[in-house]
Amino acid sequence: MHTLSVAEAICEGLREEMERDPRVFLMGEDVGAIGGIFATSRGLLDKFGPERIRDTPISEASIVGHAIGAAVAGMRPVVECGGFVDFLALTMDQLVNQAAKLRYMFGGKGTVPIVVRAAQGSGVKLAAQHSQSLEAWFAHVPGLIVVCPSSPADAKGLLLAAIRNPNPVVFLEHKMLYFVKGDVPDGEGLERIGVAARRREGTDVTLVTYSLMAHRCQEAADLLGQRGISCEVLDLRTIRPWDREAVLASARKTHRLVVVHEAVKGFGVGAEIAATVMEEAFDDLDAPVVRLGAHDVPMPFNENLERETVPTVERIVEAVRKLA
């Protein structure tokens, strides 16, 4: 084990994978000289040179497009589009109409092994165009894989899995987690896509969550534990495909579920989970599945407003207490 921040873990994963596989390269805005907008490629330019750590123009759609073409031609590109997930709005055609569908449209010929990395979430006071959480969009698209790691070990282990996966992966990091430290295994530490992590066992209520909110749920579970409410915390880690079995098993055990994510609640990932649990485990539920997500507003700039826009530890605690 060694201790790394999420940013360092990603960087380590990129480095190891680029050493292992000459097809892997990183392409995006400012990935070179400054080591990436969020310092996730620090030192890689020196090690691999400007061909494989490739700075691009501010042309997000075509960054993804070039990744697709390179991937079809046998490479394994990892791309960054200016860092923020908000900018992936510029790439939806390439990502959804091209990358996600190419293999299917071509009748099973060709693969598109690309990883599109982006940072989600609020907390940095950058307002409405730099604070979104858009995983629900990608999750709605057959052909994509969507990953949302919350720890350094997962960030690295799932990044390796994403790079080795023959399909297009949207790899969603969180700005507030880049500097969070944690243990990372000394070997490759490969993780599997599609498997939730049970962060805590509990009996009264299940918290289903991912990304930054996995941490808030842990905090909330601590507080609730002190008040005698035992929470199980499931960190989904992958949103498409999501680990239905793990969620359903937990629902059948605790009979109560709260889904917590930072994205806007309406039409968010929580809705899919709630609806599925209802479909599959209706009789096991003692109460409706509760969803917590951002209020139905663009992210405001003012920090008080920003803080209250997304689920806080207090809101999670309150929601669980009402339920339990």
Binding site: S62, G65, G69, A70, F106, N165
Partner: protein, 332 residues
Amino acid sequence: MTAAAPKSFEGLPAEKWIDLYTVMMRIRQFEERIMPLLKEGKIKGTAHPSVGQEAVAAGVCGVLEPSDYIVSNHRGHGHCIAKGMKTAEMMAELFGKRTGSNKGKGGSMHIADLDQYIIGCTGIVGSGAPIAGGAALAAKMRNTGQAVVCFFGDGGINQGVVFEAMNMAAIWKLPVIFVCENNLYALSTPVDKMTALKQLADRAQGFGFPGHQIAGNDLRAVVRATREALHRARSGLGPTLLECKTYRWYGHSAMRPDTRAYRQREEELEWRERDPVALAEKELGKAGLLTPERIGQIQREVAKEIEDAIEFAERSPDPDLPEMFTDVYAPY
């Protein structure tokens, strides 16, 4: 070929020219034959026939190496045929059959064959440009010597990613040839209303690489310009834009056969006069490469091939329903 036929023409072997002509004929007949089949409902959905534009597809693809990539657009049958796809597989695809190039799951707008280095047709205008750039980037990074041709129309040239891809190809000196088939209209919209340029080739000036306007119905001109651009590409000098002026004879698509709302009959007739197939016959005939007999023979052979392709397509089974669920993800 008569005894007096030259061994080569314009620096290419005589057989090459016969091949190119044959490809043009194959495209012509393929496209002409699918139109009634579309009307009959045997071919499903839509298709964008390239009749009138055969010299571009044949001339460009004809001088590529087999391992050079092409990325096509919605009007892509000709490109795919010229790059070497089997008309039977293409026809079966248009019929939506299991034996189609895409197992019946893609249809006209997505015909592709990676074995032939055809990254495919695409239904989103302009979207192929960065994908072509990416394939070129892979070629460059791996030093394979491959070039990549990106086909798009006079409409596609105004799509954001086409600009972006031109810029990226320019700065990275990617081995890409941007082939803009300027058939004067994007669906109903005349090209001269959609850019303020004297010629689309000048677009390249905004990026710092050469652009040339070419008589797209003149096989020889297309071949010549493509070879030059290929040379640039393979020498590491970067991209070229080739604006090939041409014309589509029919409607925009099978679903929109009518052109009268936006094209004059006179203009259509004028361009029919410049039939690229007839022009090639004349030129190659004059050069002693093609005789009327040979032309007739080729026409018959191609006609037979297309009939066989149709029969193959008709005979082939539909995909089974569970095929719906396969190929969404590559196994992992």
